[in-house]
Amino acid sequence: MSVATIQSRRAWLLSDRPASRLQARLGRAYVAWRRFSANRLALIGLLIIIALLVVAALADVLAPYSPTIGDLKNARLLAPSAAHWFGTDDLGRDIYSRIVYGSRWTLYVVILVAIIAAPIGLLVGTIAGYAGGWTDTILMRITDIFLAFPKLVLALAFVAALGPGIENAVLAIAVTSWPPYARIARAETLTVRNSDYIKAVQLMGASPFRIVLRHIMPLCISSLIIRVTLDMAGIILTAAGLGFLGLGAQPPLPEWGAMIASGRRFILDQWWVAAAPGAAILIVSLGFNLLGDGLRDALDPRSGDQ
């Protein structure tokens, strides 16, 4: 592509007078992307997350061995080598392959939690903020009850009640992580609720439901996305924690937290068994944190438009 066409495309995206809905949206996205990409650390974070997605998608190709079936006879607790990049564990399974497959479980947890917790928080927060009065009091007291318990303890209680397993771990984490989102959404709603543009929509005759759904929620979403992204690291760690305690993923599932738990026994002599999944958790958590910071700069409604 020549320089001229790139430049004309940029001009089209940044145009002050977009000619179509699509151009207006793309232009807005492009401005956010420019702000995001100006932050080098955020790009690194994005790269890490993209790598995680690629690894998870291509796990079958990337992993040289089975993640669950090991060679108990010949390959127990081998040190890292050309054949086994990260060594093998006590059941003779290739740790590299397990980490590659484990990325799927990490994504599974993170995405499911986000899909369950963020909308609940958004709904509770915006409704409480917009309705005010009794609705607000009741919804926020419920939120406070959830916030009063430490996250991991509450998740433990839920898993203990529901039975161990990765699905229940996801559910437990989701149930414990929506309250902060509700708080954020409510705070954001309170700041826009009395603005003239919301009043203007009220004067159009819009129903409260429509106002919350179409006019208030879009304003809360960006701060929520930022917060959820920043929380991803915490979610991964909670999931790993549950896995470590034996309440999350059950063997032989290659979940990173559970892998650390089983490697704990050999940590002095065969350090790589626990170190490799630990490093994976560290890197992915870091990636989500950097991405979240970058998104905050790019999407922050306050720093943005003018």
Partner: protein
Amino acid sequence: MTVSITVEGLEVVFDRFRALKGVSLELREGESYGLVGESGSGKSTLLRAITGLAPASSGTITVNGKTLGKTRDKAFYREVQMVFQDPYGSLHPRQTVDRLLQEPLAIHGIAEGEKRIERALDEVGLGKGFRFRYAHQLSGGQRQRVAIARALILEPSILLLDEPTSALDASVQAEVLNLLEEVRRRRKLTFLMVSHDLAIITHMCERLMVMQNGEAVETLTASQLIGHRVSEDYTRNLLRASEGFVRV
């Protein structure tokens, strides 16, 4: 002559503060009526009480023969629309002009949105080039034009104007005032306009009410005010102040 809005003994109380202390008002169809006063006079509260944005604690409001209760139905909003003071605050920051104008049509289930939006933009002198812009891509005057287009798109018969030009530069103010006069003439609208500026009110309105501390001071015609035929000292003070600084 038919009556458009009647307000009788209207009181509005916010947390014990009486913002309006029994104000009455009669607006004839097709007339332009001004409310003048300083901050705290209750002039904006009166507009908001009519739209339902401020709660009336007593008194009655009748619009086109229908006495209003606590809530307003959709039909009310097709009769009465409002333009806000601050053009920077009255447009949703994440919506394009197109989306802003679509919203009232969608709420009222009006078809042929495309045509109406184009016509509305034309009417306020903006044209198609502005349709897909966001509020931050518009100047103050352009924003106020969009706000006027939004108010007109439901084809109301009454337009409430809350200091529609006080946040604008003088030259832009003139353009917006001209636009308002033009749409009023074309659509035979009834205006109820709030301003702190006597010159704007006498320019735009035939009759006016001077307000102070939530009460009506006096009701005048524009020509009475121009001829200084006023009976209250407060109005005289306002008149003097509007003539600019005089060294004593």
